[in-house]
Symmetry: C2
Subunit: 339 residues, 2 copies
């Protein structure tokens, strides 16, 4: 029994359906791909594939369409890696190297990815918690308020205002700034507890409450994961999909507008895989995304993942191409942040 051919048939169905967006029948299948058998044979194979849940027919006497399970098998075992063209590599490189600051890098990346994939692209800002601290700056605003500005190695800047119970002596601010930067500079959140504690202890007991307030804000800001930001591009690409299946886009856009949903999704996917992760259709726990697939990868300096990027589109997408693009952009992005 030729199990191989069945897989060939499945691959052919996925490929055809992705390009034509029409249920694919046995005749066109043998024509477009050089399978050396007759339509009738293919029909038998398709019956088996359908029985096993890899494909389905929208209605009697229409061609077959891959199910989520079918796409999954395709992605895991059938799709060949599709290397990017030289032109695409050049475009990525040129597009990203011009960037001037972190905002710009993120902005360019997300646009680039949406253009490469023709899907909705998503880029998460480098997480504060996982980035090393570059510098902490303290700015007295008035007697009992102090502005704390936190700058990470990845170039992200965050600011918080600290309300002080009692005024802090003005002369202490430079000292506190210096101590903070010496002890905490270059470290990540996970390595900060000791150094920060020692900073507090370096001050006179009478000053410690104020110092502790500042230190706590620094720690809290770095720990704050809810503040994570996301940028998105290529939403209009969804409308192409809507022309095919009117109405399916609404819940997707609503999901996209809830950054929380996206963040949770990306975080979950970080656990799926070390490299590029793929979620197909119902594999996305969020209901609105049940006909949507997401391809995501992590990026960050020094092989340390600080955030993720992804592309999102209808389950009927070019997985090989999308995976290649996401992986490529993630790598360039890592390189830029490291450099």
């Amino acid at each position: 029994m030729s199990d191989d051919r069945r897989l060939d048939v499945l691959r052919a169905i996925v490929e055809d359906y992705v390009t034509t967006n029409e249920p694919v029948g046995s005749r066109s299948l043998v024509e477009r791909h050089g399978l050396g058998v007759s339509p009738a044979t293919i029909r038998n194979d398709m019956a088996v594939l359908e029985e096993a849940g890899y494909i389905a027919q929208p209605h009697t006497s229409a061609g077959r369409v891959p199910t989520d399970k079918g796409y999954r098998l395709f992605v895991d075992r059938l799709s060949a890696v599709k290397p990017l063209s030289a032109a695409e590599r050049r475009a990525i490189s040129a597009f990203l190297t011009d960037a001037v600051d972190l905002d710009d890098v993120v902005d360019r990346s997300v646009r680039l990815l949406s253009q490469l994939t023709h899907q909705v692209a998503v880029v998460q800002y480098p997480s504060l918690a996982r980035s090393a601290l570059r510098h902490v700056e303290l700015v007295p605003l008035d007697d009992d308020r102090l502005l704390v500005v936190i700058i990470t190695e990845t170039g992200r800047v965050e600011q918080r205002t600290v309300e002080l119970e009692h005024a802090i002596a003005a002369e202490l601010v430079p000292e506190l700034r210096a101590r903070l930067n010496v002890s905490a500079g270059g470290r990540r959140l996970s390595e900060l507890d000791g150094p920060l504690a020692s900073v507090v202890e370096a001050f006179a007991v009478s000053e410690q409450p104020a110092v502790r307030a500042v230190v706590d804000v620094v720690r809290a800001t770095l720990a704050e994961t809810t503040e994570e930001r996301i940028v998105m591009a290529g939403t209009s690409n969804l409308l192409r999909a809507d022309r095919d299946f009117p109405g399916t886009v609404r819940p997707v856009i609503e999901a996209l507008e809830e950054q929380v949903v996206l963040l949770r999704l990306l975080t979950e996917m970080a656990e799926d895989s070390v490299d590029v992760a793929v979620r197909i259709g119902h594999e996305n726990t969020h209901a609105g995304l049940s006909e949507t697939s997401v391809v995501a990868a992590g990026y960050g300096a020094d092989g340390e993942t600080v955030a993720r990027i992804g592309a999102l589109g209808p389950t009927r997408m070019d997985y090989a191409g999308t995976i290649a693009s996401v992986r490529a952009v993630a790598r360039y992005l890592s390189r830029i942040l490291a450099g």
Copy 2:
């Protein structure tokens, strides 16, 4: 000749069309509104209104639909101000006062506005150029690179890296920081030229090139209008419109993805009016927005407009309600920034 009644008819047509989204005919018009005349009379009036370009019929023997010109007249002269309900006022107030920092304020505002109007909402970040400077911070990165962090009164933070030709003496950094903050703190871009020049002159000639590089970056950053950021919410509200007129949404979403387009639009509208400005259909110069209306208003502390907010939707929108919401949110926003 009763010109008044014709205007009543126009108003009635706009109101009916906005709620029903169907061309409105003479019979239903007299029924739904208590005009004390017969359909035939209305038909005559409608013929006049059509002649004058305020209404049009999609095809022979359908009802009438307002033209852009008709909406314009409606907005300018016919629509009554629609005060917000107490519940709405409370919602605005509650929603905005909880915000913790500028990002949060902007984020909440845009969501709020999209919910109130059921349209796409847009909020522009407070412009750097028009905000007063609160503080400039300098952080040496290595021998020939200096990080400049700029903080405005509205709470916006911007950072730039300066590449120095020759290393700047480390001891000079605190002095430069101090001088910058004394001379420039609290001033707007337009008042900065003199103070900045005097900062440069306060240094020894040998140090001036480096100092000037830093000062130039500060000035350039404040002057940079291209870097203006915009946030958006409620894109999914457009899809409702697409159900009525399939295909019209695509160009709009594409326009929205180009922040430049939106920024130019908001800037143009700033000149239209001191209060709330309205652009209807073809009045938007951008081609993709020719079936879209935009309602915008400025906000800022101390009566000084530092940025704008707006709502955007199909020309067939509830102008009175949208205008009221935009105005209200702009006012609360101003109050928060001032406080």
